[in-house]
Symmetry: C2
Subunit: 276 residues, 2 copies
């Protein structure tokens, strides 16, 4: 595995390969969720590129940019073990200039839910993802379904800007007890972690109800809210039912629905979802 920190270097290496390139962009602190993306990229491509870059433009003022977990040495080992060919770890100062051209997420999809709570977050995310796509020139790019709204916006960007990479949507990876993998899980105390299990539990119960024929979004939302609100210390931000285009829907459509949850437990914000 080659570790590259220079943009021109990685760009010229990857420009001249005549092989399929699988790309997994990350902010590091790699967990089993990332590893499943890397493994899938490894299976499906001749060359695998992972990037680690904690992107400042997607953090809002007062957010956890400075304390975002950084585990460079462990991450390198993980990538090497997973058979990554190139690990791209650029320095922050090389990725941005002072007064750049920026991207603005679409008004409807970019400023609801996660975008409402974190206005500007998706603009910064799209900006870095577009830069990385143009640097790495990937055949296939791997993203987790956990960040469903991010994934939807990336799909939209690929379509709007006629990008060449194929976006591969990967299933959420969970701990044995059901908690969705997240770099932010390390912030949870043991008792908070216990409470957090109700998130995936509520989604599972909702899915069961849907499987039994309940397609009314309101009833499904109520079911989830009842479970979450019954736990002291879970502060529900939203529970919503959307279609794949991220429009709120009253009736659940099989194969085209995502149920999204965002909560705060203590100071830690957690999101989870299920694709129906």
């Amino acid at each position: 595995m080659k570790i590259v920190d220079n943009i021109s270097d990685i760009k010229s290496i990857l420009k001249n390969v005549n092989s399929t390139i699988g790309f997994v962009p990350t902010m590091g602190a790699l967990h089993n969720g990332h590893i499943s993306l890397i493994n899938r990229a490894r299976e499906e491509n001749e060359i695998v590129v992972v990037s680690i870059f904690v992107n400042p433009t997607q953090f809002l003022e007062g957010e956890d940019l400075d304390k975002y977990p950084r585990k460079d040495e462990a991450d390198k080992k993980i990538c090497k073990l997973c058979g990554v060919d190139y690990l791209f770890m650029p320095d922050i100062n090389t990725m941005y200039e002072k007064d750049e051209i920026i991207l603005k997420a679409s008004k409807t999809k970019g400023f609801i839910l996660e975008g409402y709570k974190r206005p500007g977050h998706f603009d910064g995310m799209l900006q870095i993802v577009l830069k990385l796509f143009n640097i790495v020139n990937p055949t296939n790019s791997y993203f987790g379904k956990k960040d469903a709204q991010q994934l939807s916006l990336i799909n939209q960007m690929v379509k709007n800007l006629y990008l060449d990479t194929n976006i591969v949507e990967c299933d959420i990876v969970r701990e044995n007890d059901g908690l969705a993998m997240s770099s932010r899980n390390v912030y949870l105390t043991p008792s908070q972690r216990e409470k957090a299990l109700n998130i995936s539990k509520s989604l599972k119960i909702a899915a069961k109800k849907i499987g039994a024929g309940q397609l009314d979004s309101d009833i499904i939302v109520d079911t989830i809210n009842d479970i979450l609100n019954s736990v002291d210390g879970i502060d529900v931000e939203y529970v919503v039912v959307v279609n794949r285009e991220f429009n709120l829907i009253d009736t659940i459509e099989l194969q085209n629905t995502i149920i999204l949850i965002a909560v705060k437990i203590g100071t830690t914000r957690l999101i989870d979802n299920i694709w129906i």
Copy 2:
């Protein structure tokens, strides 16, 4: 010459060529300025692609989108005569969806001068140019120095987003009497056109003064303003001296200065400039 109106078609044709591609994006109404870009692209590349698309997102409300000159049949003939390989003329409905991800020009460079008079114009320009770059995948892309601020912003976009195309900056083409070629010149009455000659004349006189050692921007600006203001019917919007980064400069730097003029004659807005 092949005329293509379908995005997927042109994209797949050009993706599979293993040749250098020279690209000239235009809004049609081709004049000698465009022809000089096409000729240069023809000399320097194996395949030449011209696009004609009057891009709505770079016109502001109340601007001349509807009456912008359209000369499709003449344009096709010109492209054919110039040895263009592919003429890309997409339909407006295929280039944009309803609620797209958009680009925002940099704050300093995007909202001064032309961007101050036409706020949002450069955002739309960058959006269409990025789309076209991603569709055509050009080795070299040809732009005129007449739209100097546009050129500067495109250079910045290529740098910020790590695009692969090489931007070729082409000299302004003028009528025999000095008037810079522009699709908007057709709006001028004969007497307005006569008045308009003072624009290039004032730039020429300024260049002469600089050649003789006058490097004080204020004096150069005064010289130009004196000439333009002495003509009844010329309404000066701005006369400025900037460096190639589009910062205003007090002292002219040889090889790094652009003197920019924008005026209105009747209802027609004209711009011109000289690179020192």
